[in-house]
Symmetry: C2
Subunit: 301 residues, 2 copies
Amino acid sequence: MAQIINGNDMAQDIRKNLRNELLQFVAAGHREPHLTAIIVGEDPASKTYVEKKVLACKEIGISSKTIVLPKSTTQEELQRLIEQENKNENVNGILVQLPVPEHIDERTICNAISADKDVDGFNEINIGRLALDMECIVPATPLGVKTMLQRSNIQTFGRNVVVVGRSKNVSLPLAIILHSDGKHAAKGMDATVTICHRNTPAKELAKHCRQADILVVAVGKPGLITKDMVKPGACVIDVGISRIQDEAGKFKLVGDVDFDEVRQVAGHITPVPGGVGPMTVAMLMQNTILAAKKQISNRTD
Amino acid sequence: MAQIINGNDMAQDIRKNLRNELLQFVAAGHREPHLTAIIVGEDPASKTYVEKKVLACKEIGISSKTIVLPKSTTQEELQRLIEQENKNENVNGILVQLPVPEHIDERTICNAISADKDVDGFNEINIGRLALDMECIVPATPLGVKTMLQRSNIQTFGRNVVVVGRSKNVSLPLAIILHSDGKHAAKGMDATVTICHRNTPAKELAKHCRQADILVVAVGKPGLITKDMVKPGACVIDVGISRIQDEAGKFKLVGDVDFDEVRQVAGHITPVPGGVGPMTVAMLMQNTILAAKKQISNRTD
């Protein structure tokens, strides 16, 4: 039976460490870091996500503000607001909760956030630096997965990793981190990496997955990964999250992996909820503190 | 017996098309595009590469200049020169022939070239945009491989591709292009992609390669890919290039693939020399014309 990687416990431990790091930072005479979160529109899921992030900020001692803009906000208005926050020396991190309404170009907005305040790591410059093994702000979910693997002592060097999904915020950064050189600034993980996606034929997907020592799934399709697709002893990281109704009509959150079945063959497995999700929030906090420190050292240079 | 993909013929055809495109461009009242090539030091291979590029410019009608700097040039001097060329409206493309001497940081130099004149596509912004499926300048060698596959009618959608190597100038951009979505601005190729590298165990490398419908090798290790590692009918693209001495003491250029053996099982194969190499030069020319056109349309916007 697989060992369950408890994301809640791990994230709590990280938040505790971050809290201590922040106390030292403030004791050294620095203002507490500040995160600005922006929501456009009334999406309830977006609100919940931002509330979780704000709560984590409070617990750690990061100051934050949430700016809620009406759905009718134009792209130019949003860009002007980001520009203000970019210029504001008291703001260390900026995030725009995705998705934005359809009339706003998400990519333009991600690129509008100054690279050194881009705590989500979605700016083209941060993604470029990640691809080039340079120091950068790494997107929170991929960084969370990397941290989970490291803290669980899962070896990646020379191992076969399969990443299912090709999203730009999760799967691609993960594939970059997992395959790249551990000796470079960004400390890659030296695995052999296969990227599967919607156009990988089902039979091929199963074959690739069965060869994986580490299987990371980030698709959003409940039940996609079944027991027969998992190599005995493999580490299975489930990044998917979907809200489904069970037989009794009750809503619940599930991942992409058939957890009850797969845990019988896997060596390690992350649950949903309580797996990657809390790690993402913890990594966002880590990025915000990192950004604040980096901004200070850039000013002193 | 594999069909040989003739890179010389293909590149010549592309250069002919580019020549016509350029004639139309000049006939429309535009100045011919200008490429500045910079070499630091006396590396004979670098000189040869730049000479080939300058020759291709001449043939197509791109104006060019080569600036040869002494090996003792400081990083700051090189950056100042790049800055001048960035500002010069008569210069459309800038390339610094790699490698640069050890006292100069290659990455800083690649990032110093303005993204819109970065015809090598090595700037962090261009790599970031490539990773994000945005329009950008794509590095010439990966673009050459993409073009070779397309022009040879090799299907990539849903196929297994193995890329051996993880260089930032060739393998990683290729893996990005090959796995990404064909419906996006950058027109990915929708393949399932596996990235193998020096830390992939030999046995695993062989296994992955044997599953590849398309095998791209960019390592620089003569004889790395042998017949038993290739799936019958696969398309084998050899990006490697090494100068070795044969039994008679004569120097010759070879790729990473055991050509004579592998051609017996492969469906398509590229030779070395005369495969990817000439395509790289042709794609650099294409990038230079593209950059010039883009700069004009940006000025008119």
